[in-house]
Subunit: 419 residues, 2 copies
C-alpha cells in the first residue's frame, strides 16, 4: 500500500502508510504492561529497547545516527550545501499506562517524511534529521522536557543529582546505568538547528468532533497549576445546625463551581479543571475541617490568561471571606504561553492548504517539546486527530489514514525548509 499526491506545485512524494502502521505497532509493543497500556519511562529497560529499535529503523533508511549526552537520538540525512540542520521528531518516553501515539507518532511521522523525501529528492541542502527526544513526560522523574531542554542548554547543573524517581534513584545514576555521563550534559547543546517541526496527536477531541484533517498550532497554551487548601471547622454532622457551620467542603464546592464557571464564560480556549480533591477527616458524619484541591488553568492568550487567573483568585478570596474559611493557595506550575514561530506556522499552514486539507489553526492545550524548542529555534507543530480525544490512556488512537494528511504536511514543510 502506498499513497502519493501531486498538487499544483512540483512537490510529489510517496508516503508508505504500511510502514507507518508497522512502526506504530512495533514501537507500541515495547513497554507493554500486564495491566494494559505502555510505560517507557526514560532510561528504563523498555526505553532502551525502544531506542535501539528506532535506531535500527534509522540505519535501515540509510540515515547517520548519533546519540547525545542525555540519550537523544538523531538520524541525519546529510545536507549538500550547509552545516545547518532542520529537525523533526518527538519524544519516545510515555506516561504510565500510556498509549502508542503520544510522542511516538511524531517519530514515525518524521521517519516516514524524511524517508519519502530521501526517496523522491535525495540529499537536501541542509542536514535533515529525525530527532528522537529521550524524555518529555516527566513520568519517571520530574524532568519534563529533559531531551529538548538538553538540546537547548536548559538543564541546570544540580538536576542530575536532585531529580529522583519513586525508588529514590537519581536521574544521573539512571543515565550511568545506560552508559551516559551526566557531567557531559552541556555537550548536548546544539547551535546548528535552523528549524524544528513536531507532529503530534491532538490529545483532544476538537479535530475529531469537528471533522478536521489536521491542526496547525499557533500557540502552546500557558498553564498555571495551583493547590488550594480551605480550612474550616470540624463539627458533628448531626448536631451542628447549618447556620453555625464553617464547612470547608461547602466553601470548596462553591469555589470550584465559580472558577469552572469563569472559564466557561470566557469561552475557548480558556479551561479550568479541578482534577483532585480531598477532605479531612473524611467521615460521612463529620463536617469537613479542611478541603484540598488542585486547579489547572490554561489559556493561550497572555492577557486573557491573566484575566482568568485574576477572576479565579477573586472567587477564592470572596467565598473564603464570606464563609469565614481559611485559604492557602500554592503555585505548583507556571508556564507562560509560547507562540510558535510565525514563519514556521505560516509555512505549515501553506503546506496544509497545498495538500487541500481542512485544517484548524489552534492552540495546543497540552505541553510539548515544541514549547522549549520555540524559545530557541524556529519551531512549528502539526496536529493529527485523536479519536474521541483520548490521550494518556491505552485507548489513544489515530487510524493511519487519518495520520497521513498530517505527515504529508510535515514532509512538504521539511522539503521547503531543507531542499
Amino acid at each position: 500500500m502506498s499513497e502519493s499526491r501531486a498538487s499544483g506545485d512540483r512537490f510529489a512524494v510517496e508516503l508508505d502508510p504500511a510502514m507507518l502502521q508497522r512502526h506504530i505497532d512495533e514501537l507500541g509493543a515495547i513497554g507493554a504492561l500486564a495491566e494494559g497500556g505502555l510505560y517507557r519511562g526514560v532510561y528504563t529497560p523498555a526505553w532502551a529497547e525502544a531506542m535501539a529499535l528506532v535506531q535500527g529503523w534509522l540505519e535501515a533508511l540509510g540515515l547517520e545516527t548519533r546519540r547525545d549526552a542525555v540519550g537523544n537520538l538523531f538520524g541525519r540525512l546529510p545536507g549538500t550545501e550547509s552545516q545547518r540542520a532542520v529537525l523533526s521528531g518527538s519524544h519516545i518516553d510515555t506516561v504510565r499506562q500510556g498509549g502508542k501515539y503520544d510522542g511516538a507518532l511524531g517519530i514515525h511521522a518524521a521517519i516516514a517524511a524524511i524517508g519519502a523525501l530521501k526517496a523522491a529528492y535525495g540529499r537536501p541542502r541542509k542536514h535533515l534529521e529525525v530527532y528522537v527526544i529521550c524524555e518529555e513526560e516527566g513520568s519517571r522523574f520530574h524532568a519534563s522536557f529533559w531531551g529538548s531542554r538538553a538540546l537547548n542548554g536548559r538543564i541546570a547543573p544540580h538536576e542530575a543529582d536532585s531529580l529522583q524517581d519513586a525508588d529514590g534513584v537519581a536521574i544521573g545514576q539512571a543515565m550511568r546505568e545506560r552508559g551516559l555521563d551526566s557531567s557531559a550534559i552541556p555537550s548536548a547543546k546544539r547551535d546548528d538547528v535552523d528549524a524544528f517541526i513536531e507532529l503530534h496527536i491532538e490529545q483532544g477531541r476538537i479535530l475529531d468532533d469537528e471533522g478536521y484533517d489536521a491542526g496547525v498550532v499557533h500557540t502552546i497554551t500557558g498553564l498555571r497549576q495551583l493547590r488550594v487548601r480551605v480550612g474550616g471547622r470540624q463539627d458533628h454532622a448531626g448536631t451542628t445546625p447549618m447556620d453555625l457551620r464553617r464547612d470547608a467542603l461547602a466553601g470548596a464546592v462553591e469555589m470550584i463551581a465559580r472558577l469552572t464557571g469563569a472559564a466557561e464564560a470566557m469561552g475557548r480556549p480558556a479551561v479550568a479543571t479541578v482534577g483532585s480533591i480531598a477532605v479531612a477527616p473524611g467521615a460521612t458524619n463529620v463536617v469537613p475541617a479542611s478541603c484540598t484541591f488542585t486547579i489547572d488553568t490554561r489559556h493561550s492568550d497572555p492577557g486573557k490568561r491573566l484575566e482568568l487567573l485574576a477572576a479565579i483568585e477573586r472567587h477564592l478570596q470572596e467565598v473564603a471571606a464570606r464563609r469565614g474559611l481559611e485559604l492557602e493557595v500554592q503555585q505548583l506550575i507556571e508556564h507562560h504561553p509560547v507562540p510558535m514561530t510565525p514563519a514556521i506556522r505560516d509555512l505549515v499552514e501553506a503546506c496544509a492548504q497545498a495538500e487541500g486539507l481542512r485544517y484548524l489553526s489552534m492552540p495546543s492545550g497540552a505541553g510539548h517539546d515544541s514549547q522549549i524548542m520555540a524559545q530557541h529555534v524556529p519551531t512549528g507543530m502539526v496536529f493529527v486527530p485523536s479519536v474521541d480525544g483520548r490521550s494518556h490512556t491505552p485507548a489513544e488512537y489515530t487510524p493511519v489514514e487519518r495520520s497521513v494528511p498530517g505527515v504529508r504536511v510535515l514532509a512538504r514543510a521539511l522539503y521547503r525548509l531543507a531542499y
Copy 2:
C-alpha cells in the same frame, strides 16, 4: 465539695461534684491512645478494664451488680414494692480518638443521681438501676446500639457471626474472648423496664452558644445516609474545551452546593452534610471520570425530612440530566425520627423547671441508645452543654459545674419515677 438545692417541692438531694469529676478522670484514662484521645471498642482489653472499674464503683455504692449475655452491666438499688425497674445510663464504648464525655458522662450521671437518691431516700418502690451499655458507637464492629438492641431483643441471630471488625474477628468470637456466649444473646431481653432516662453531652454547640443550662430532647432525628456516584468522561485537562466536557466533579460540586443549600433554606433542624468525597483518576491535569461522595441528611420532623430528601433527590437528578452525567445513589443508613415518650419528656421538662434551669426543648441531631429504648420502653433524654460543640474528639469537654444541673434534673426525674 458538695452541692444541694431544695426547691418548692420536697425533693432535696446532695450531689457530689468531686466524685463526678473523679469518675470522669478515672474512666477517661482507660483506653488512652499514644496519639491522643481514647479508644474503647467493645470487647477490647480497654473496654474490659473500663467495665471492671465501673462495676467496682457500683459495688462500692452498695448496688447489686449483674452482667447480661452481651456484657451490659446493671447496678441495682432494689425496689421495696415492685419487680419493675427504672433505668438510667449510657454507653461505655467510644469512637476511635474519642473523648471522656460521650457516653461516659451518662454513666457517671446515673451513678451520681442514684447514689444521691439512695443517700437521701434509701430504697425506692421500684428497682432503680444504673445501666452501663456495652456498645453504641459501632466503632469496632458495625454493631451500633448492640447493648440496647440486646436488651430489647433486637439482635438478629446471624449478627454474632456476620459482624466482623477490621481484623476479621467476628463479634461472637470477641464475646467468647470476654467469657460471653453469643448463643445466650436472647436472654438479655428484658420486659421489666418501666422507664429509661439517658443523660448525654449535646455533641453540638447550640446549648453552649446560646447559654442554656440543659436540653430536653423531644425527638431523636431521622437520618438517611447516601452514597452518590457521578459518572462523567475522563479527558485531558488542557486539550478538552469546557463546552465538550462531561466533568464528574463539576457536576458533583453543583449537586453539593444545591443540596446543602436546600438544608440551609429549610432552616433548623434540617442538616445535610457531605463529609467525604473522592474523584477518579484524581490527577491534576485530568478531567475527573467519576466522583463519589456521601450525603448525611437529618431532620426530626418526619414530613419535613421527606420533603428535604425529595428536594435533594431532585437536585441530583436535575444536575446529572443537564450535564449528561451518570448518577447512582445508594442508601447506606435510614433511621426514621424517634420521638421521646411524651410522659417522660414532660416529666424531664417539669424537673428542669423545678430546678429553675434555662433549658431548651430540642431534637437530638445525633443517634443515641434512647432511640432504640424509646421504641420499647418509656424513654427520655437530658442534654448537658458541650463546650464549643466538640464531640468525637479528645477535645470534647463539659466542666463539672455545667454537668451538675442536668444531673440534678436526672435525679429528680428518677425520684418521681421510682420512689
